[in-house]
Amino acid sequence: MSMHRLSGCPGCAEPLEEADRFCGVCGHPIAAPSGPGSAAPWAPGPTTTHPGGTAPRPPGAPDAASGGHDATAPSVPGGPDRSGYAAPTPPGGGDPARPTPDQQGNPAAGGPPYAQPGPGGATGSDHTPAAWGPGGPGYTGDEQERSEHGSAGEYAARAVPASASGGSRSYGDHAEPAAPAGGYGSGVPAPGWGSVTSAAPTLVGDADDWSGTPTTPAEATPWQSGSAQEPAYSPQQGTGPAQEPPYSPPQGSPQGEGKTCVACRAGRVDTDGYCEHCGHAQPRERDHLEEELGSVAAVSDRGLRHHRNEDSFAVAATALPDGSAATVAIVCDGVSSASRPDEASAAAAGAANEALLEALPRGAHPQEAMHDAILAAAAAVNALAPEVPGAQNAPACTLVGAVVSGGVLTIGWVGDSRAYWVPDDRAALPRRLTEDDSWAAQMVAAGLMGEAEAYADVRAHAITGWLGADAYDLEPHTASFKPDHPGVVVVCTDGLWNYAESAREMAEVLPSDAAFRPLHSAQVLVGHALDGGGHDNITVAVVPFAAVPPRPPVHAETEPETEPTS
């Protein structure tokens, strides 16, 4: 049911431009011409048209207000912040309006990194919010353009500096669904951008600004103003900056009763989580989750093709007996062919995390602690299985975890979820730290097939190790490394690494400032997978590793040293 290029947005009839991937006004995804995954309108009636699966994202954070600023709610106060977002990348740089991360109140959303396209240019610039980046003055011009073209999408495209334009623009933004919005929603307009407030609608409408839409939770504004046919949006096209659409921010608890459906915008949401009008399932909390601690961040996303998120993660910070910090990140992928995979992954991630938080502070050897944590996770998953011997399809999941403590990086895994090491110095060699328990990996390991051939096989992803009652001989793999240089550990499910399989590819996708902005980096990685099609749930944790300054017996190796135990 893939759709051909549309002349107008199926959601709101907004005229579209060639390169638009999402409607500039309502955020409705415009079917990717190629993919079967293209988002088709939900329902036939214009009132029920709705973005595909990606659109209704629950907010990763309580950024409802900013969610509101999303495409469909141009007038939301969040708008101006959006321009703050734009600020960081004025081509000319040095824009005084550029908010610092601190100003934003959300480091992840901070702009600076955007300002430098960096070596990762190819990918990094994808989300160059350079798109946002017309300098202050440019704005006026853009404003005019907008009027001329009457298309927010167009406007957005124009606003993009040449360097950042092109087909690849944007998904980066998609990559950061909730968080940026959260950041920008902080309501701190960049100095000097006050006038931009009114311009925000355009920006908000920017097709690139996918993030706005996904963050829009059910309570998001637009729905309030009625159906997609609601003309309110089109007028906005031509209206002057001062005009505010009649949107009033959602009131009350977002979780409260009487939520309005994100799909048709007409019905209320019943107690089962479906729309009373169009029947569509409402975004669930797990559809998109983000968490950031000082030393680690993780993002999990349902992806574009699965109806629920069966991945899970846990991140935590604790302290060793000597007072030094330890960081834990666990990522689990529920096995879809098993029953209740979502419960399995949640149980495993939670149990492993708890076990590590119990063991590390009392001085347990991290590798042993990891081993025990995997066993604890396995027990938790086993406990989900019905008490029938030999029961079919017992809940199952994979697990990969990383612990950074005392200058040591400890990895543990079962299944095909992975950990990658990406040095901060991108000249150094990145590497994969895990060996999949998978058919493909076994084929390669046994020398029966080349890597390319093995991974192209339909059986490639059949896993040979997992946590679950029907797993045979659970063999937790653990390894410790003592990198002598700083870097970042990327802990992820195959929903990500399918789109960046080799360590080199992963390093290319990972923003160069990952060590300082782990949440943003995780968002970018998730965005990369969504950009590639989002065929699976995507979960990634980004754990910065600061090398301990070399001590007398210097570990001279550039390469981390592995000590796999099994």
Partner: protein, 442 residues
């Protein structure tokens, strides 16, 4: 209004069996909705009547043919007496003699009697006066029963109708109109005794009035059957229960069928019940379980989406201004996936009942073809029926089929029509063609 003895009322539960996964572009969602009511009649058998009480009217065919052979009239009289003995004290009842007109036998004067030892004795006494003579106009019987039951405050209103001949003294349209008028006002079981009646008349009555239809070829078995029917009525606790289906905007109900214990198409029986919802009548319930096959066509959605295709609820009618009570509900979902293994799987329940419905249809079509002399058509259809009955473990139907065809290979559906088939066997097969069996436990 006070809630009548809620603890003794049955509790309903709804379970939905389906494969919710649809391929890209898939729109038809099939589900088997199993409704079970428990804790009612069986648990309180000795204790209680249905809240509000029950009222039963027995309609006996007293046309001239009932005397040929005379065992029919005698059997009917005895069966009615047995049914009256089965009435619980306090139940309202009446007996009607039906010919080309309907006549009250007991208690008369447009009233219902209340069952107690004295009224039971008087009613049986009245039965002695029954004599055969006259024609058959079943609509008149039903209209009289309807009038009697309408005067009753009972919650459970039920009829038991026995006929032995064709509805010759009434236009089919009149019977049809009568059934339409009576539908929803009372429920009715219908029986044909002997082999001179029209199967369709009896099954139509039972279908329209949400009761059972059966053949009692040998009048000697009438007492047993009437007793069982009356016990069944006495077990009813809740009346006028509807299956309410809510569907989202843009969705269409393709069909709604009861598929167990027998096939009964309810699709056309829908009455609107608020926005996007419709009620399908299910009649009265005791301690029992029924299954419904619901097919909904939903608007297509892209892979990864999920929607509620239907919400299936059991509702009781509003009582004295109170809002309708939802007794139980289940959800029919649609989830689009690109996982072919998921989307191509068929729910075992859906497959089973699809087969049972086809079985009923194959029998009816096969017998129809046989009557028209279409040997090939009849052989093909009845062969298919034998195959389906065998595969699904419907032994009862398989046994009935074996009296009409010689089974060569049940698994392959190879059969030969029997040259000579007893009328009773053919009518039994036709009347019971809609009987289904439950999904085999694996």
């Amino acid at each position: 209004m006070a809630n009548f003895a809620k603890p003794s009322a049955p509790r309903f539960s709804v379970e939905v069996y389906q494969n919710e996964f649809l391929p890209e572009g898939g729109r038809d969602v099939h589900a088997i909705v199993t409704v079970t009511s428990t804790g009612g009649a069986t648990a309180t058998r000795s204790a209680a009547l249905a809240p509000g009480g029950s009222a039963v009217v027995i309609m006996l065919d007293c046309s001239g043919s009932m005397d040929h052979p005379p065992t029919k009239m005698r059997g009917a009289r005895e069966a009615t007496a047995a049914a009256i003995d089965t009435l619980r004290d306090g139940t309202s009842f009446a007996v009607i003699a039906g010919t080309h007109v309907a006549r009250e036998i007991y208690p008369g004067q447009g009233r219902l009697a209340t069952a107690d030892p004295a009224t039971r004795a008087r009613a049986k006494e009245a039965l002695r006066g029954l004599a055969a003579g006259g024609g058959t106009a079943i609509g008149t019987w039903l209209r009289l029963a309807d009038g009697l039951l309408r005067g009753s405050a009972a919650t459970i209103r039920h009829g038991i109708l026995l006929t032995d001949g064709r509805n010759e003294h009434e236009e089919p349209a009149v019977l049809r109109a009568t059934l339409d008028a009576c539908a929803g006002r009372f429920t009715c079981d219908a029986r044909g005794v002997g082999t001179d009646w029209e199967v369709k008349d009896v099954t139509d009555i039972a279908g329209a009035l949400l009761g059972s239809a059966d053949i009692v070829a040998d009048p000697a078995h009438l007492s047993e059957d009437f007793t069982r029917m009356m016990e069944n009525v006495m077990g009813k606790e809740v009346a006028d229960v509807s299956l309410r289906l809510w569907t989202p905007v843009g969705a269409e109900i393709q069909y709604v069928k009861q598929v167990a214990p027998s096939v009964q198409d309810l699709t056309d029986r829908r009455t609107a019940a608020g926005p996007r919802a419709g009620d399908y009548p299910t009649g009265s319930w005791g301690d029992e379980s029924r299954e419904y096959h619901v097919c909904v066509r939903v608007p297509g959605a892209s892979v990864g989406q999920e929607m509620l295709a239907a919400r299936a609820m059991l509702v009781m009618p509003p009582v004295a201004g109170e809002p309708p009570v939802t007794l139980a509900q289940g959800l029919v979902r649609a989830v689009w996936t690109d996982d072919l293994a998921a989307s191509t799987a068929i729910s075992p329940q859906v497959a089973h009942y699809t087969g049972q419905a086809e079985l009923a249809q194959a029998i009816q079509q096969g017998l129809e073809a046989r009557k028209l002399g279409d040997v090939d058509g009849a052989t093909a259809k009845l062969g298919r029926a034998v195959q389906l009955a065998s595969a699904s473990g419907n032994a009862g139907t398989a046994r009935l089929l074996a009296k009409v065809v010689d089974v060569v290979d049940a698994a392959a559906g190879t059969v030969r029509l029997k040259a000579k088939v007893a009328d009773a066997d053919e009518m039994t097969l036709e009347t019971r063609s809609t009987q289904t069996v439950r999904v085999k436990k694996t």
